[in-house]
């Protein structure tokens, strides 16, 4: 595992986001959404960041396939996959590089919300514990979305298919909790436990629960692990 090679791939992805329309579309939509909810906060005179995160996580669910859909699909379609597959890279290096690229782009997006935090800190007295929990939950959920999106991207060379399938998978993981409310007994509990929605909620209330952290960490690992397996299987 070489940091240089992983970072080289990540850099390539980051460069793409800032030279393509899709990168700017995602950025603009994100700025607009977070800006809108922050404006509502200011109007309401609250010193809280919670509405910015709790309301935009669903919007991010819809934007995240825009970030991940091309990660592998495009390599496969344009024939550049051959370069990566025949260079002295391990599949893990490729997958981690791609993932790191998407996450770094997201970090730049999310960095913009620090402005809102600065404004709130200057004008009011926010509860930093809650703010911190919000960030942790928001970041973990988002990078879990990316991990699933990357996995879907390894399975098709069509970006649009990758985008739609990622939406379907993420939305299913989101609404399955509501289904769990309707189903009695263990089955209902199970559905609630695998739902993203049920795990993200506590973070927005200011609680960092170990079970929730483990849930998102498992999603992330599973997505990356299966991506590696899918790419390995393409060689045979």
């Amino acid at each position: 595992m070489s940091g240089r090679k992983i970072w080289a791939i990540a850099k390539k992805e980051i460069g793409y986001y800032f030279s393509s329309p899709i990168g700017y579309i995602v950025l603009t939509a994100f700025f607009f959404a977070t800006g809108f909810f922050f404006w509502l906060i200011l109007k309401g005179g609250q010193a809280s960041m919670v509405p910015v995160f709790s309301n935009t996580i669903v919007i991010l669910l819809f934007l995240s396939p825009g970030i991940t859909m091309r990660l592998w699909s495009e390599e496969e379609k344009s024939g550049t996959a051959e370069l990566l597959k025949t260079s002295p890279l391990t599949i893990w290096e490729i997958v981690l590089g791609k993932y790191l690229g998407a996450c770094t782009f997201f970090a730049a997006m999310l960095g913009s919300t620090l402005i809102y935090l600065a404004i709130i800190a200057a004008t009011g007295n926010p509860d930093y514990g809650i703010v911190f929990a919000n960030y942790v939950g928001y970041i973990m959920a988002s990078i879990a979305f990316f991990s699933i999106g990357l996995l879907v991207s390894t399975m098709t060379e069509n970006q649009i298919v990758a985008m739609v399938v990622t939406w379907v998978v993420l939305l299913t993981f989101w609404v399955i909790g509501a289904a769990g409310d309707q189903v009695p007994g263990e089955m209902g509990d199970f559905l609630k436990n695998i739902s993203i929605y049920k795990h993200i909620d506590d973070f927005f209330k200011g609680v960092i629960g170990l079970n929730h952290v483990l849930y998102f960490a498992s999603l992330i690992f599973l997505g990356l692990f299966l991506s590696v397996k899918v790419l390995e299987s393409k060689r045979s």
Binding site: S2, R4, K5, W7, A8, I9, K11, K12, G15, Y16, S19, S20, S78, G79, T80, A81, E82, L83, L84, K85, T86, S87, P88, L89, T90, R235, S236
Partner: protein
């Protein structure tokens, strides 16, 4: 340098590569010749570890492509059928990226990128976006990528594809200049390309090797055939004996006997024009009548005709 033995790649019931065997000695250029879909690309993808074989064995510089793929990748420079380039990157940034993933030491990176740009006359294109370049330049960027880490083995899948005649000559010259230090395998469906650049040739058709030879032997078999079909009006036994005694002839086979007095013979000669003249003189001297004398049996040419007619003139 490269050993391929009984290589098989199947897709379901279809064998894209069917027990292909060949070897490439160090410092030589091998041409893989065949129409599209013959199995050239599949063979090259297996050699470059992009694809796992279904059976058989292939080694590059002593490393097995299945068991030691990382070692093979370090030894090989590969230009796939479609150059693996990113349209949104500049030529220099692209080559720097390739340098990183091909483990070129950081301190040698800038130098090496410069060298390769010069080698391929891409100096002026360094800051251009690859997506804005013409097909010929893109192909050269693809080639630059393959040469960047100074590999011992080059695998080039139709390196002159999409180039104009002048660029084709330049690339051929470049490939020849790389010989000696490097071992090269290139694929093509153009016959003159092989004779212009390669030492040896392997002809693949429908996944199978139909011929493997040196380019010299191949050209000989193509230009001057050693076997002649001769039709003579005369007594078959006497004619046969007389032909056999002619200088430069090593064997005579009777194909058919005296239909309306004409017999058909197959004579194996040393391939020289003198032998043909001697045969002619021998027949005339005996006052027989020569109806026909035709070079035959060029199985390679037959294969070629089959290949090239399917392909259209290239």
């Amino acid at each position: 340098m490269i050993e391929v033995k009984d290589l098989v790649k199947t897709y379901g019931p279809l064998a894209a590569v069917d027990r292909v065997t060949f070897s490439v000695p160090e410092g030589t250029i091998l041409g893989l010749l065949g129409p599209n879909g013959a199995g050239k690309t599949t063979t090259m993808r297996i050699l470059t570890t992009s694809l796992a074989p279904s059976g058989g064995k292939a080694t590059v510089a002593g490393f097995d492509v299945v068991d030691q793929p990382q070692e093979v990748r370090k030894k090989i420079g590969y230009l796939p059928e479609i150059p693996p380039i990113y349209g949104d990157m500049t030529v220099v940034n692209y080559l720097r990226f390739v340098a990183d993933i091909k483990e070129i030491p950081e301190e040698k990176k800038a130098n090496r990128v410069g060298e390769v740009l010069e080698m391929l006359s891409l100096d002026d294109m360094g800051k251009r976006l690859i997506g804005h370049l013409s097909l010929g330049y893109r192909q050269r960027v693809g080639l630059a990528q393959a040469l960047l880490h100074d590999p011992e083995v080059l695998v080039l899948d139709e390196p002159t594809r999409g180039l104009d005649p002048k660029q084709i000559l330049e690339i051929r010259k470049l490939i020849k200049s790389l010989k000696g230090k490097r071992t090269i395998v290139l694929s093509t469906h153009i016959l003159p390309e092989v004779s212009a650049t390669c030492d040896d040739v392997v002809i693949i058709h429908q996944g199978k090797v139909v011929a493997a030879d040196s380019v010299e032997a191949l050209s000989q078999r193509l230009s001057g055939s050693k076997t002649l079909e001769i039709e003579v009006k005369g007594p078959v036994a006497e004619v046969g004996k007389a032909l056999e005694r002619t200088e430069g002839v090593s064997g005579v086979k009777i194909l058919s006997k005296e239909t309306k007095g004409i017999s058909r013979f197959e004579a194996t000669t040393d391939g020289s024009n003198e032998a043909r003249e001697a045969l002619f003189n021998c027949i005339v001297k005996n006052k027989w009548v020569l109806y026909q004398m035709t070079p035959v049996g060029m199985s390679l040419e037959d294969v070629f005709m089959k290949l090239t007619t399917k392909e259209g003139a290239a």
